[in-house]
Amino acid sequence: MREITYRQALNEALIEEMERDPDVFLLGEDIAVYGGAYGVTADLWKKYGDERVLDTPISENAIVGVGLGAALTGMRPVAEIMYIDFIGLCLEQLNNQVAKIRYMFGGKCTVPLTIRTEGGAGRTLGAHHSQSLESWLIHIPGIKVVMPATPYDAKGLLKSSIRENNPVVFIEHKMLYNAKGGVPEGEYTIPIGAAEIKREGSDVTLITYSKMLFACMEAANILEKEGISAEIVDLRTLLPMDMDTVIKSLEKTGRAAIVEEDCKTGGTGAEITAQIMEKAFDWLDGPVIRVAGEDVPMPKSPVLEKMAVPDVNKICAAARKLIKG
């Protein structure tokens, strides 16, 4: 299969969906001439013009609100919020309006709105450009939350998100844009809400998503040499969460670590742990371990930034602890 970057995979998904459906249009800051802060919308403006690739003012709350209004009245907008760190500017619209309007109206409207954003640390950009705030989003009934790790998943899931008649927040990772992987040309989709076993194993289950998948993969290689066989569940969608796949893996391994970049307290790992507790307590050989970001704002200093997020060593240590107790 052809190898392309995560960025290209996303760009291709946007083009295919814009070709497929004339109601799809993009709006966001610097997505037109500039092609997006991280280049995901590169060249789309040249191709489709101002009517379908709309640069907006720096007005995050209105971007989401306008996206909603357009979605309610026949369009299929894809809005971009440049950094998930800015999501606090538009959470009112996202939580109160986008997520709830269908329910409040007794099901008498649909919201085919996709909000693309991007998060994560790794570029020493400091506390306002390095966050992972997905756990806020899984606490919003009415939306779906998608976080792909590979170019393949990125393309297939972005296409599904755009076609979805429910609002989707689609979260990319800034450190993955240049990562390459096999991606078929043309049409395929990946169902929202389906996790995938990215590596089979029998001793411990590593539950993860987005960039941390790759740290887990590396960790699994190291662990293998130590005789520990790690299975890796890539959630891909956080809401709804595919707990069946998680539980099935746990039935086999009896041990789980959740690996997330977002800071620990109140993070997504807490929810996964709670659901494991509820649904698979009897399968557990010991407590689930959370390997998560530290509960601090992201420090600028490169040495501190590295410490603030999980790495291969921490994952390996967790797996060893799970095995050895």
């Binding site: 249009f25 209105a62 609100g65 306008v66 209004g69 357009a70 309610l72 009245t73 008498k108 409207c109």
Partner: protein, 319 residues
């Protein structure tokens, strides 16, 4: 503006429907049949009726927490609206929305909103749809003086002007945002000045005079429909009751209230129609009685309707 009888009756009926709809709600609240908050529109009827009577059926509006008037005027189904107030299954939102979320997308009402300025984005986005789809429809966005201090209001006006969207922004200036007077909340008392920051044309109208409202609305709706972009109407008006039920109205005087009650939009309009010989006292009475009957039926319907089934808790969240 020369009036024909039918139009005069229609405007009168709409204003009376709004007034009586709320009289009924007050009764239901007093009897504890209705529960929860209710922000009453009484006193402001000429704004909703005046503006909306200039719209086509498939034009859109967005409304506010004080949304009964807009919902009734936008071809509202009185029975379904009243049932919604009571949280009944037959409500326009199946009882899930209530007073704060009255909506009927099929009639072009994109909804009341519990969040002050919460529907500015929706209106502006609907305007963007209309422009992109070149449908010729337009959008009216209602909001209050208080809402005009919230960030999203400014963000949306900027976008609407920048992109020449077919949206008429109607600020219902009833002098207070809850308890805080315009003077204490807005650096400019003349709210139309806010449009200057966006090169949006604006007009201030007497919101108690349904014909004045219609005239202004007509002009700006036409401008929107012809692709010339958004406009900003400030309608000066007044709400008769407290902000909500617990409000003792300590922030305003009884004299001020009296002054405004004397400028009642229904009285003004029916008086003028009689004076000008468009409607007789009899005919006015007939409209009133017609509306009273409609209202009784609506309340009866709402009260007899069942509550939603328990399963309804989980439906309508996702497609």
């Amino acid at each position: 503006m020369i009036m024909d009888k039918e139009l005069a009756k229609k405007l009168l009926r709409q204003m009376m429907e709004i007034r009586q709809f709320e009289d009924m709600i007050m009764e239901l609240l007093a009897k504890n049949i209705a529960e929860g908050g209710s922000h009453l529109y009484a006193g402001m009827e000429a704004v909703a009726a005046g503006v909306i009577s200039m719209l086509k059926h498939d034009d859109y509006i967005t409304s506010t927490h004080r949304g009964h008037g807009h919902a009734v005027a936008k071809d509202g189904d009185l029975k379904a609206l009243m049932a919604e107030i009571l949280g009944k299954k037959t409500g326009v939102c199946k009882g899930k929305g209530g007073s704060l979320h009255l909506a009927d997308v099929s009639k072009g009402n994109l909804g009341a909103n519990g969040i002050v300025a919460g529907s500015l984005g929706i209106a502006t986005g609907a305007g963007l749809s209309m422009k992109l789809k070149k449908t010729g429809q337009i959008v009216v966005c209602f909001f209050g003086d208080g809402a005009s201090n919230n960030g999203i209001f400014f963000e949306c006006l900027n976008m609407a002007s920048l992109w020449k969207l077919p949206v008429v922004y109607v600020c219902e200036n009833n002098l207070y945002g809850m308890s805080v007077s315009v003077k204490r909340a807005s650096a400019v008392e003349d709210l139309s000045k806010k449009a200057l920051a966006f090169d949006i044309p604006s007009e201030t109208v007497d919101g108690q005079d349904v014909l004045a409202v219609r005239e202004a609305a007509g002009k700006w709706i036409e401008q929107a429909r012809s692709g010339k972009g958004p406009s900003f109407i400030v309608a000066n008006t007044y709400r008769y009751y407290g902000h909500s039920r617990s409000d003792t109205r300590a922030y305003r005087t009884r004299e001020e209230e009296k002054f405004w009650r004397e400028r009642d939009p229904i009285k003004i309009f029916s008086g003028r129609m009689e004076e000008q010989g468009v409607l007789t006292a009899e005919e006015i009475k007939e409209v009133e009685e017609f509306v009273a009957k409609e209202m009784e039926e609506a309340v009866d319907y709402a009260m007899k309707s069942p509550y939603p089934e328990p399963e309804e808790l989980y439906t309508d969240l996702y497609v």
